[in-house]
Symmetry: C2
Subunit: 389 residues, 2 copies
């Protein structure tokens, strides 16, 4: 049932081909000292960096930079960014990139004025900030994570091999605004595009596959999944299709901005399995999820049969006539597998550099979540990793 | 296609049985002088008034009241409320009621410091406020309009018999927060409950029946419609079903908070027809929409055939095998009609007090919108009213 909750997502979204111009509306609201945060430098090749810098200069901003934010932002990189932001007396953090860059900017935001070690406070004790945080804005260049409209921030501790996400409760941690220009995503390699698409799909699944009632969140989730399937098939054939990439970008935002989690316990076990793989292999996030998903869902299917039947019919148009519930549910997952293969997703962990020798360590690094249809034990986690290999 | 747009809905929603306690979190953020706005006094019978007043007093607020806000708030009532808010030097407006009360509070908010006549500025010239506005909070006791999370405010000028809605562009006009307690809706008479349900459904239709592409908004709309159909059938049989009423309440908010309008031209012609009826008969809003909907949709069906086919299959599970598109589309509307009759909605304007003699006047009072599949002319409007009679 829907139950008791609050919802607030104040992030202002600017969507479309001209949306970067919104920086001229938003930047004047914040102080002079801006830290520009970005990743490996692709934004310099495609011209986005130059466009952003010009607008920052036209708005009289004093800009410092944190460059080289990696796909799985590390704790050491966080420490480095905090130092830069402190030294610059930053008033505002502008993230230009994908989910990792947005996540990282939020992690810097809550850490700049934090007197404790942010890893211990936010990622081991899962506390809320007790200090002033810095406002964050995002210019999105890759889609998938939904980080542009939520208060989540995943950080990887490479020493302890732990990749942990903290979704902060306070909406002030959410970006103040996000610029969503689908055209920026057109230059992304096919591999990254489909990894992002699967990340979006899995975000919806993680919320959908929990609970047994028919609440509004499940119906919205089914709409988002159908939209994503439709657009992904077009984009897979024709990556330059602006319309399809627009719908993928918009779906990504709504897949993980807390809306479809309302009234749901939510699962997130696929993310826990995938994040363990990410910490070991540094593989692309969406691909780690893809490789473990089907073994996981086939494993929990008997415990959530009713929902898997609904999934098969409402998302994959499986015709239930003359079939058992088990058959319908299996056909749904078979249809999902066919779609994943069509996109060219990683279907095995071995494709991502994981090895037999890593399995015990992966199982050790996997946090066990309790919201899904079956709370896994360690042998089950090991079994799922083995089946995924 | 999705195109270019911005989206921002900063309203904080507190949902569930204990949500009124959120007033203790929200009220301290605003000044001492509060104007409490409500309707016909049912909140005094069911105890909500007393609960709200107690919390206002515990928070040290100095309270004035605007009582008797009617189902179609009038311009004269707006003038009266503006005077009360000015005299009280209001810092905050707290609306306790349904959509009319929330709409009215927003209209007062933009008018208190307005030096011009608000009817002319906001409802004839559709301008944005150029003055300071007052913050508004809502405690919702009836569902349907979605007014609790949008910047719309409908006002009726009884002298000119014009009922006009203005959806303001600036998100600061949206309520700062809304308290959504499904239990408050359980005491509503069946007639009001189903009228609200149809209002929600029609809000989705007005946005869905525009454009021919497959964008994400349409998929979300289909999810919301399916959720509403499911919950409405439960609530119709068992109005005390808290779970069903919860899902109806939550769907209502998302049906009209701008989300499913993104990338859509939107139509709103059913609302224009219904609002003309409302101005003449003072009938319940949702019922005026119900009475004109099917004649309108059957009239425009040939111009939006592809979308009506999709509607039939995706929302009403019409099986298209062996049928023409026209047959599938008609079956969709037939299924919708059967559902409307099942709920006991007004299917004819004559049930609402409209007469043959009113038809010319109704047509004169109907604003013509241009976003749907066919821009109506006056003879078509007259014809639809006649078929609805």
């Amino acid at each position: 049932m829907l139950g008791n909750f609050s919802y607030c997502n104040p992030t202002k979204l600017y969507f479309g081909e001209d949306s970067l111009q919104a920086l001229n509306t938003e930047l004047p609201k914040y102080g002079k000292n801006v830290v520009l945060i970005y990743g490996g430098g692709s934004i310099k090749k495609n011209g986005i960096y130059q466009d952003v810098m010009q607008i920052l200069q036209e708005n009289g901003k004093n800009v410092a930079e944190i460059a080289g934010v990696m796909p799985n932002p590390t704790l050491n990189k966080l420490y480095e960014g905090v130092e830069i932001a402190r030294k610059h007396q930053a008033d505002f953090l502008l993230a230009v990139g994908g989910g990792s860059v947005c996540d990282y900017a939020k992690a810097v935001s809550v850490s700049v004025n934090c007197e404790e070690d942010p890893w211990e406070k936010y990622y081991l004790r899962f506390e809320e900030p007790s200090c002033e945080t810095l406002p964050v804005g995002c210019v999105l260049t890759m889609v998938g994570t939904g980080s542009e409209m939520n208060a989540g921030a995943v950080i990887t501790n490479t020493e302890t091999k732990m990749k942990i996400g903290h979704v902060f409760a306070d909406e002030k941690i959410m970006p103040k605004f996000a610029v969503l220009n689908p055209r920026y995503t057109l230059t992304l390699p096919h591999y990254q595009m489909v990894a992002g698409i699967y990340d979006i799909f899995n975000h919806i699944c993680e919320q959908y596959f929990s609970g047994e009632d028919d609440n509004t969140s499940d119906y919205i989730s089914e709409g988002l999944m159908r939209s994503l399937l439709h657009a992904s098939r077009i984009a897979n054939q024709d990556p330059q299709n602006y319309e399809a990439r627009s719908n993928i970008m918009w779906t990504a935002t709504w897949a993980l901005n807390t809306l479809v989690a309302k009234g749901k316990s939510t699962d997130w076990m696929v993310h826990m399995l995938g994040q363990a793989v990410g910490a070991y292999t540094n593989a692309t996030h969406g691909m780690t999820l893809a490789a473990v998903s089907l073994p996981y869902y086939r494993h929990i299917l008997p415990y959530g049969l009713k929902k898997f039947v609904r999934f098969a019919e409402a998302v994959w148009d499986v015709n239930p006539v003359g079939k058992t519930d088990e058959q319908v549910a299996q056909e749904g997952l078979d249809a999902m597998e066919a779609w994943m293969r069509e996109l060219g997703l990683a279907m095995k962990l071995s494709e991502l550099g994981a090895t037999e020798e890593m399995l015990e360590g992966l199982a050790d690094s996997t946090l066990i979540m309790k919201g899904g249809y079956k709370v896994l034990d360690r042998p089950e986690i090991l079994e799922i990793f083995r089946e995924s290999l």
